[in-house]
């Protein structure tokens, strides 16, 4: 009697367990199958970069004046021979809402033996390459003591700074001459600069 009861109890237990498992599985299946939905969207969401570019283009020839004599600013500003002026352009290409800050720096070469206060630099700017206006008055070379935030190096002279907010080209003419008050040295001396351009946003 006891043996039969035990056997029946075991069977019941097993059946209960199986039933529970089956029930568990059924519940999950039902839960999973209760709701399924999918839809492919039609709206595209896009990001695209604009265009941000700067270009510095030098003219074919620069200033090369031999046997230079002192001259007044009025005369220096009107020097017009090919070897008496340096022409270059600084351009920006901007698509989108951006602004490029830029600097034009004159870098004095180590071979210069004339002192800074004996030479004047003069810069003109034009938007069309034809009509030029004064951008920097005749000024002695005045170096900056520290590198600027845009990168003009210490010891250079910033001769122009500005901001581009759209695609455009600025045309420049640089002139350089011996100051009127200079007493010529007994031995030949020289002064040489190059021009570099730095930009950033």
């Amino acid at each position: 009697m006891k043996g039969v009861m035990k056997e029946n109890y075991s069977k019941s237990l097993v059946l209960s367990l199986v039933g529970l498992v089956i029930l568990f599985l059924l519940v999950i299946s039902v839960s999973l199958a209760t709701f399924v939905y999918s839809k492919t969207g039609t709206i595209t969401n896009t990001i695209q970069t604009g265009t941000l570019m700067m270009t510095y283009t030098e003219g074919n020839t620069g200033i090369k004046i031999d046997n230079a004599l002192p001259m007044s600013d009025e005369v220096g500003k009107t020097l017009k021979e090919e070897n008496e002026m340096f022409q270059f352009t600084v351009s920006s290409t901007i698509r989108g809402d951006a602004a490029i800050r830029y600097e034009i720096a004159a870098i004095k070469k180590d071979t210069s033996t004339l002192s800074d206060d004996m030479v004047k630099l003069y810069l003109e700017r034009s938007s069309d390459g034809v009509n030029y206006l004064e951008s920097m008055a005749p000024t002695e070379f005045t170096p900056i003591s520290e590198q600027s935030s845009l990168g003009s190096p210490a010891g250079s002279m910033i001769i122009e700074s500005g901001t581009f907010t759209q695609t455009q080209t600025n045309h420049y003419i640089l002139r350089m001459w011996l100051k009127e008050e200079v007493t010529l040295p007994n031995i030949p001396q020289q002064y040489a600069v190059t021009v570099s351009v730095y930009g950033g946003i």
Partner: protein, 191 residues
């Protein structure tokens, strides 16, 4: 639990810090431009110099006697004439204006009108014979009280050779006491 909470806070802070650095890094890298020019712009001075060179001896005439201009112009002894040169060294297109000026020394007590000065340049008479006449300061630089005895322009490297002679005018009267008359020569130039 406290330990977990601390770890979570630390991780959060670290995450935010990394995010900040990433954002800043992206901002700086967005755009920068630099281009160094290659064209060299140069001015060079030429040579511009002047030189005044005096001879070894000057005029030193003692017991001077009046003489005619014709005689005075031909004085040829070492102590009877003063030789000097004025040179220019010019490269390029430059012009130097120059003046040769006689400066009468203080203590000269012979009246100006009793003395004659005569200057030759490259063997050609360019001044006098004339008495000393003091002038005003000039644009080239000859000072007040000097007398310009020659002026000119150098446009190229060259040397001018001068001979100065000085004598008592023919009509000068010799006084009872000894008198003297002394001049020096200066040269001034300007470009």
């Amino acid at each position: 639990m406290k330990d977990n909470s601390s770890k979570q806070i630390l991780l959060s802070v670290l995450g935010v810090a990394i995010l900040v650095v990433a954002v800043v890094g992206v901002s700086f890298a967005a755009f920068s431009y630099s281009k160094k020019g290659a064209v060299e712009n140069t001015i060079s001075t030429g040579t511009l110099s002047m030189t005044y060179t005096e001879g070894d001896t000057g005029i030193s005439i003692t017991n001077a006697m009046p003489m005619s201009d014709d005689t005075g112009k031909t004085l040829d002894g070492d102590n009877e004439k003063f030789e000097f040169t004025v040179s220019a060294n010019i490269s390029g297109t430059a012009t130097i204006n120059y003046e040769v000026a006689a400066i009468k020394k203080e203590g000269s007590n012979i009246p100006d009108e009793n003395v004659r000065l005569y200057l030759e340049k490259d063997s050609v008479g360019v001044f006098g014979p004339d008495p000393f006449t003091a002038g005003s300061q000039t644009a080239v630089g000859s000072p007040d009280g000097s007398m310009v005895i020659d002026s000119g322009t150098f446009t190229a490297t060259m040397t001018n050779s001068y001979v100065l002679r000085m004598w008592l005018a023919e009509d000068a009267e010799i006084g009872e006491t000894s008198q003297t008359y002394t001049v020096t020569v200066n040269v001034y130039g300007q470009a």
